[in-house]
């Protein structure tokens, strides 16, 4: 007998004569306390994210590249990983070229093995889009793909995330149901609610444990 057969066999024999309990999910319980007026969603998300050291900026859908340049310059960062092959990456590149920014734009355009060393040690910051945000918990949702791979939002010490105000949902349940996540998840989905942190020593909160030390969320007011 294999371990699998043994385990399943034991479990089944313990259930002989019983019926499975009905599905007792209670949708109201996970949604009703977490509803916000549309105009309050940004404020809620903002206050929760700021409470865990996230920098949140609200800006227009067209002037955000300027803000990105400003934020990087203020920190004296020399390069930024972005995805020039997709819309927001193109917009950023166009702005940086037009204004002759000295910050170098890097692209994640080859398998990680080919440039792991560089990614881990020489990339200052990254910029990615998001699938949306969650007001209830102060969260942005990342849906990595070929253009914006998983490590892009994890390895560089500063991560800038673009969030469209129109894509902020009240709560996680609403978001996953309205977008029908269950029908097909990508290989990796991430809910991110602040920069990396730990309270493992004396419960003193310290940011920048292993992931980004700084998370900057740009809320694009497209409403």
């Amino acid at each position: 007998m294999t371990a699998r057969a043994n385990i399943l066999g034991k479990l089944r024999s313990s259930l002989v004569g019983t019926t499975p309990r009905p599905d007792e999910f209670d949708e109201a319980l996970v949604t009703a306390p977490w509803r916000y007026a549309p105009e309050d969603r940004i404020a809620r998300l903002r206050s929760l994210m700021e409470a865990v050291h996230t920098e949140v900026h609200q800006c227009g859908s067209d002037n955000w590249p300027e803000l990105v340049a400003e934020l990087l310059n203020k920190r004296n960062l020399t390069n930024l990983l972005c995805a020039p092959s997709i819309e927001h990456g193109r917009a950023l590149q166009a702005y940086f070229e037009a204004t002759e920014q000295t910050i170098e734009l890097l692209a994640y355009d080859q398998p990680v093995e080919a440039w792991k060393e560089e990614l881990f040690w020489n990339v200052d910051a990254s910029l990615t889009g998001t699938l949306g945000g969650i007001a209830a918990t102060g969260t942005v949702v990342l849906w990595p793909d070929r253009h914006e791979p998983r490590l892009m939002s994890l390895v560089p010490p500063v991560h800038i995330a673009l969030l469209k105000a129109s894509e902020i949902h009240d709560n996680l349940y609403d978001m996953m149901v309205s977008q029908d996540w269950a029908a097909g998840l990508p290989t990796n989905v991430l809910l991110v609610s602040g920069p990396s942190k730990t309270a493992d020593i004396e419960q003193v909160l310290a940011y920048g444990a292993h992931g980004p030390r700084e998370l900057i969320v740009l809320v694009l007011e497209d409403l």
Partner: protein, 483 residues
């Protein structure tokens, strides 16, 4: 990395270790401060009692519902994961699980493993197993890294290094890593970050636990704050997740209340920094992520707990740690005293199924039965009730068939006879009266020692006159009327 010294070998038995821990003022202080703060954080995370109770009830129903169809769900999970390209393995024992993990690493000729936080890998003592075979297995959670560096075991399931303060960590980093001493927590964390970053980059294999496995979509969900879990599951070319068979839930939406209960109960956070949903290895057109993802499903006594409808509730546990944070015993003696992977109330009810009740016979009674653990448990495991049940199992006749592995370890023939005698005395009025008469008249002969009771108390001495006597005399004097 040198071998860990199993804490169990330091001082034998819960009692001995408890006595030792109680005399360690620093340790008691570290725990007191930490547990007080965790209790406050949890309370603040649930400001609305109705919402909290509703959610706990839902959490209980979801877990109990999942367990009521566990074998089917495991099969569904396996099918979905396989479709997603994840390899699923099954292990009945920790040896089997270790062999499986080792086999996967060997197939890749791997020599360096980074591990995210995983209690199941602690059950397996995976670090030691791999170290003996020449594979370095490094803990990457800051707390786990600290205890590993000091050859210790975690003392809390959420905060493994909670028994240490900054000064102790500073000294450890100084001694082991040659770093300058500092009590600045930020600087200490940055030392950890620097040291581990190189390891994430170089590791051949990343190991993680699983908080919830979702059958509907074939997804492994992990919660964490540090990013070490994301690093371990994303940067190395192979990811091996290890989990107990009880972690499966039917639907994706089920994790909404469960994650909320978990993070709010554990650290009082509305959500952790990262909630990581992994549904498969790197696809051909993707540029990063592991090439292989494996899931090892471990039994290690869980089917034994499952077989007993009452004890099955143990498997509801979502490992939030709230029961230990609120336990007056845990707070005073600390996690190492339990000498097992899972300390505190949850450890007391789950360890007997893994190790056998005879290995931890003192655990069920190391509780004041104050009920705090049951009251805070986000999935409403009736821990005090299960502890009482284990106390009964402890004193069952070992000759009889046992319901809990290793039951009957505290069975005592003498005690059994004493209770029989007591029963006889109390059910035969004539006998009871003559006993009472003798006990009051010959009170000077009462034994001076009464087992453990007289270790800390003076021995009970019968009163000169029994209450019956006194009441009868009183009624006589008052003409049969109570005054």
């Amino acid at each position: 990395m040198s071998q860990r010294i199993p804490v169990t070998e330091l001082t034998p038995g819960f009692r001995g270790r408890a006595e030792e821990a109680l005399t360690d003022g620093q340790l008691r202080n570290n725990f007191r401060v930490a547990m007080d703060s965790l209790m406050t954080k949890r309370a603040n995370a649930f400001p609305d009692a109705d919402e909290r109770e509703g959610l706990r009830e839902l959490g209980n129903r979801l877990k109990a519902g999942a367990l009521s169809r566990l074998p089917d769900l495991l099969e569904q999970l396996e099918k979905k994961l396989t479709e997603n390209g994840v390899k699923v393995h099954w292990a009945e024992t920790v040896e089997e699980a270790n062999e499986l993990v080792h086999g996967i690493i060997e197939a890749r000729k791997g020599s360096q493993v980074v591990k995210g936080k995983s209690m199941v890998s602690e059950e397996m003592e995976m670090n030691d197993y791999l170290a003996e075979r020449g594979i370095e297995c490094l803990e990457s959670d800051m707390g786990e890294y600290i205890v590993q560096l000091d050859n210790e075991k975690p003392s809390h399931i959420i905060m493994p290094a909670i028994h240490k303060n900054a000064r102790q960590v500073s000294k450890l980093f100084h001694d082991k890593l040659g770093e300058p001493e500092t009590e600045d927590v930020n600087q200490l964390i940055q030392i950890g970050r620097r040291t581990l970053r190189r390891k994430f980059m170089d590791a051949d294999v990343g190991v993680s636990g699983v908080n919830f496995a979702i059958a509907e979509t074939g997804t492994l969900l992990l919660v964490e704050n540090e990013g070490n879990g994301r690093m371990s599951t994303t940067a190395p070319p192979v990811h091996i997740a290890v989990t107990g068979i009880e972690k499966v839930v039917p639907n994706l939406r089920d994790v909404v209340p469960l994650v909320s209960l978990l993070t709010r109960s554990a650290l009082g956070q509305p959500i952790t920094t990262y909630v990581n949903l992994i549904s498969g290895p790197r696809k051909p057109d993707e540029l990063d992520g592991p090439e292989e993802v494996h899931l090892v499903l471990l039994d290690n006594g869980r089917t034994g707990a499952f077989a007993d409808a009452q004890m099955r509730q143990t498997l509801n546990c979502i490992r939030c740690g709230a029961c230990m944070n609120h336990c007056p015993v845990y707070t005073r003696v600390g996690g190492h005293t339990y000498g097992e992977v899972y300390p505190g109330p949850i450890g007391k009810i789950i360890t007997p199924h893994m190790a056998g009740l005879d290995k931890v016979p003192d655990h069920p009674s190391a509780s004041s039965l104050c009920g705090a653990c049951g009251e805070v448990c986000p999935v409403k495991i009736p821990i005090p009730e299960l502890l009482q049940r284990l106390r009964q199992e402890n004193v069952k006749d070992p000759e009889q068939p046992q319901q809990v592995k290793g039951g009957g370890a505290k069975y005592s023939r003498t005690e059994r006879w004493i209770w029989r005698g007591w029963q006889m005395l109390n059910t035969r009025p004539a006998l009871y009266r003559s006993f009472l008469w003798a006990a009051t008249r010959f009170r000077a002969l009462a034994p001076k020692k009464a087992g453990p009771w007289t270790e800390n108390h003076s021995a009970p001495v019968p009163a000169r006159r029994s209450l019956h006597d006194l009441a009868a005399r009183h009624l006589d004097q008052n003409g049969g009327r109570p005054s």
